[in-house]
Symmetry: C2
């Protein structure tokens, strides 16, 4: 069984109400990336955030943050394209990555492709109603093909997010077309509690993803529980040969009464993996497992 | 186990290249509805089509067709809201139904709600590529709440289509909110061969739907295989207590070298259900199984 790849998902759109350790600004994200690397994370995923926590998708944010992360460790960098907060056309959504590719110091290692479209409204469990009613995360086939072309052009690794079986089937078609290359790195994005866009973060929810991994193609899969406690599934994932993507961006993890830091969440995953006999992949080993290409800086 | 509800899906967007018996015009649909009723179908679902097969979502088409179907039998009527061919706003997409509700002769019994959003591009298996790259079937939460309100207002039964687990989870939230009422009638729309938007039409594909039926709510479920052969699953569905929605709209069904008619497809399902000991529900029995409300004509 491959060594386990652990990705730190440090902030997403999470507020500090649930956990005050969520990093927003470049310096905070850079510090968290280093701390998570030192605990065993091979990949860091982050969203640009303003000091009040609002999304900040300016290229400048990503350039500063990527350069700062690179200067401190070899952790692999996986930025966002902006989720529903960036509802531009395909070129606009990829613009920040194009800027990042102008220098080796600021280039990431992955770029995400959420391989389909899905309603992503926020549920309010106290009120028993939706807080939003118009959020469709739209990723058309044409937009995804643009992303795939640019990702391949730059030698980045596509980080393929699947929210449901429809997404996984689209990934399979892209593999058949050669739009994507093996091994496909697929993240099963499960959701709970305040968003029901993905499968539930249960054993059944995971089984209903892995049953549809593209046949006849080499795939590597990791799991997220967005807004749910992924530790309910980590033992199953570790034993099944899957990988783990986790952090305060997804869930306000606690250890008893104490708010955990991202680094503490990573340390807990590492300890569980090792206790189950599975070693943790370094950043270099992750590049090898995922057969990552060589990044090409823009001319 | 309830008697089995059989729905004839007579035309959808199917061409006559695959099977020349696909009905397009009102008179053709009316004749097929009667023939399917006589073989045991309790529900008929159709799309308005011009004589060249192009979509025709003019209210006049639906008024004429519904009235003609009503005049010949008590088969329950389930029109479309236009699928991706009708990309209007929520009011615009429901406009044809509002027109149908002005008279008992033209009122349908169901109105559909596809409970989520999904990419629905067409795959070209000969060329190994997508023929379309921009088709997102967009059904926002707000649009669905508008449909649900109007459907309840008129005493119609919502026909809840689920293309993947994300859709089923949205149905569950609507049940929690009271936006939908029990029993929820859910159609698992599986897809094959030239569209990969739904689960595959396999036992695993069906299991990955039924595993997520909303807990704590009464549900009744039926199954479609859009562009695949549903007969590969009908025995499992019949034995599992599910219902069957099938017709030339989905697949160019053949009996050996002979192109089947919609009525012949229905007769084949009826024979299989009876051979497995499951009786077929009449239209009146279907109203009872689904606890269908009384239709209220617009004032």
């Amino acid at each position: 069984m491959d060594k386990i790849i652990i990705e730190a998902r440090v902030n997403e759109l999470a507020t500090r109400k649930g956990n005050p350790h969520v990093p927003f600004l470049p310096g905070e994200i850079i510090a968290d990336a280093k701390a998570c690397h030192d605990e065993g994370a091979a990949i860091v995923h982050y969203h640009g955030r303003a000091d009040d926590g609002a999304p900040d998708h300016s290229p400048a944010f990503y350039l500063e943050t990527n350069a700062g992360i690179r200067a401190q460790s070899d952790i692999l960098i996986h930025p966002t394209l902006g989720y529903v907060a960036n509802d531009a056309d395909a070129l606009g959504r990829f613009a920040a990555v194009e800027e990042m590719m102008k220098s080796a110091e600021t280039a990431p290692d992955f770029a995400p492709m959420d391989c389909g479209s899905v309603n992503v409204d926020w549920w309010n469990p106290e009120e028993g109603r939706y807080d939003t009613t118009d959020l469709i995360y739209k990723n058309s086939t044409g937009t995804l093909m643009h992303f795939a072309e640019r990702i391949a052009h730059y030698g980045l690794k596509p980080y393929l997010v699947s929210w449901n079986v429809s997404f996984t089937r689209q990934i399979e078609q892209f593999l058949k077309m050669g739009v994507l290359r093996e091994p496909a790195y697929i993240c099963f994005c499960m959701t709970d509690e305040i968003i029901f866009a993905g499968h539930p973060g249960t054993e059944a929810g995971l089984d209903a993803h892995t049953a549809f991994l593209p046949e006849g193609f080499r795939t590597v899969w990791t799991v997220v529980n967005y807004k749910g406690d992924l530790f309910e599934l980590t033992e199953k994932i570790i034993r099944s040969g899957g990988h783990i993507s986790i952090g305060l961006g997804d869930y306000a993890y606690r250890d008893g009464a104490r708010n955990m830091t991202n680094a503490q969440v990573i340390a807990k995953v590492v300890a569980q993996a090792q206790s189950l006999g599975r070693d943790v992949a370094s950043a270099a080993e992750t590049r090898d497992i995922l057969k990552m290409p060589t990044v090409r800086i823009a001319a």
